[in-house]
Symmetry: C2
Subunit: 211 residues, 2 copies
């Protein structure tokens, strides 16, 4: 019997390095994981590829997906829809792949409500100071944008208690291994092994009757 | 600031190999773990050493420990008291050591009630058949005793759902690594990092105000 995969949500401050962690995880353990691709009504940016960064949808297509219950969760940001298509996630989990959703806290909590055994991981830099330095170090944004990101990070930090694990990204390789280990360890959770436990119990019952 | 250690209970069927796993864990990561030694009113057997297998107590001494709240949990089996002395556990946790109690399910649940963040691990052989073979393979017990053990294993299996993790001991080295990883991963649990999360939050709040 093939075991179903683990559904995980990975969130984190912008600047936490979560994008890089996901890339490394998929590279290092590529047969193990499937990264869910979001659908959005936002227009593709230069270099973005349909089905790689996003599935690009018209508002009509997206609303039809909502109506037909084809999304696990969705939200509207700055006038655009973003959502997680259900079919891919369920198909991959059935195949035994561990599926990762890289979404924000509101989406994470909606997923956890629908699938209570979803593992919620939050990636954080070791300190706010390091986060600020990383954002400045990128050299792609002015201080005004960086301050907006830090302000947004504060808002994001308000929901972190709802996550299962708070993972500090100090060293990339260590952090990738830790995320992998957290997800793989979920497979030994007692609540995910009830069938197996019942099977052993029945066997023992037989033996103890001298069968 | 030194982090407090993780308190874990390791239980498992007799024949699950849990004793060997504990020995290997303490050998491989000896500065990390402290194994709690139980107190008992049972008489020492040949080869047992005070403070290694057990702390041997008179019934009066044991009852005085109960009265003075010096035990985390205790129980009476076949006319003898067995219990977990509190002082050692608390001292080791404060020092940052991960403390392991190797006790049975009733004790495990009592500890979890007093210390809700205790990690409960249950070790199982891959199947009841393997358990039976291991018990026979020891060659130290007759079939009657083995059947009693299997019957007892059935009773023990009834509480396994209350544990956090159900760890299958198929290969010893793999199992030791898994137990180590399960305990160490607990340190990233969000609920154990509330102070750290609050600290980052305060820092971010400062930054977002342009401090």
């Amino acid at each position: 019997m093939k075991k179903k995969g683990i559904l995980s949500v990975v969130s984190g401050f912008s600047g936490s390095g979560k994008g890089t962690i996901m890339k490394e995880l998929l590279k290092n353990y590529k047969d193990q994981y499937a990264l869910s691709i979001s659908a959005t009504t936002r227009k593709p940016r230069v270099g973005e590829v349909e089905g790689r960064e996003y599935f690009f949808k018209t508002p009509e297509e997206f609303e039809s997906m909502i109506e037909n219950n084809q999304l696990i969760e969705y939200a509207c940001y700055v006038g655009n829809y973003y959502g997680t298509p259900r079919a891919y996630v369920e198909e991959m989990l059935e195949k035994g792949k561990d599926v990762i959703l890289e979404i924000e806290i509101q989406g994470a909590l909606k997923v956890k409500e629908k699938f209570p055994d979803t593992l919620l991981l939050f990636i954080s830099p070791p300190s706010a100071e390091v986060l600020k330095e990383r954002l400045i170090g990128r050299g792609t944004e002015d201080m005004d944008t960086i301050n907006k990101r830090l302000s947004r990070a504060f808002e994001e930090s308000l929901g972190v208690e709802n996550y299962d694990y708070f993972v500090i990204n100090d060293d990339l390789a260590t952090c990738v291994k830790e995320v992998h280990s957290l997800i793989q360890n979920e497979k030994s959770r007692a609540s995910r092994n009830i069938n197996y436990i019942n099977h052993i119990r029945e066997e023992l019952k037989g033996f103890s009757k001298g069968e």
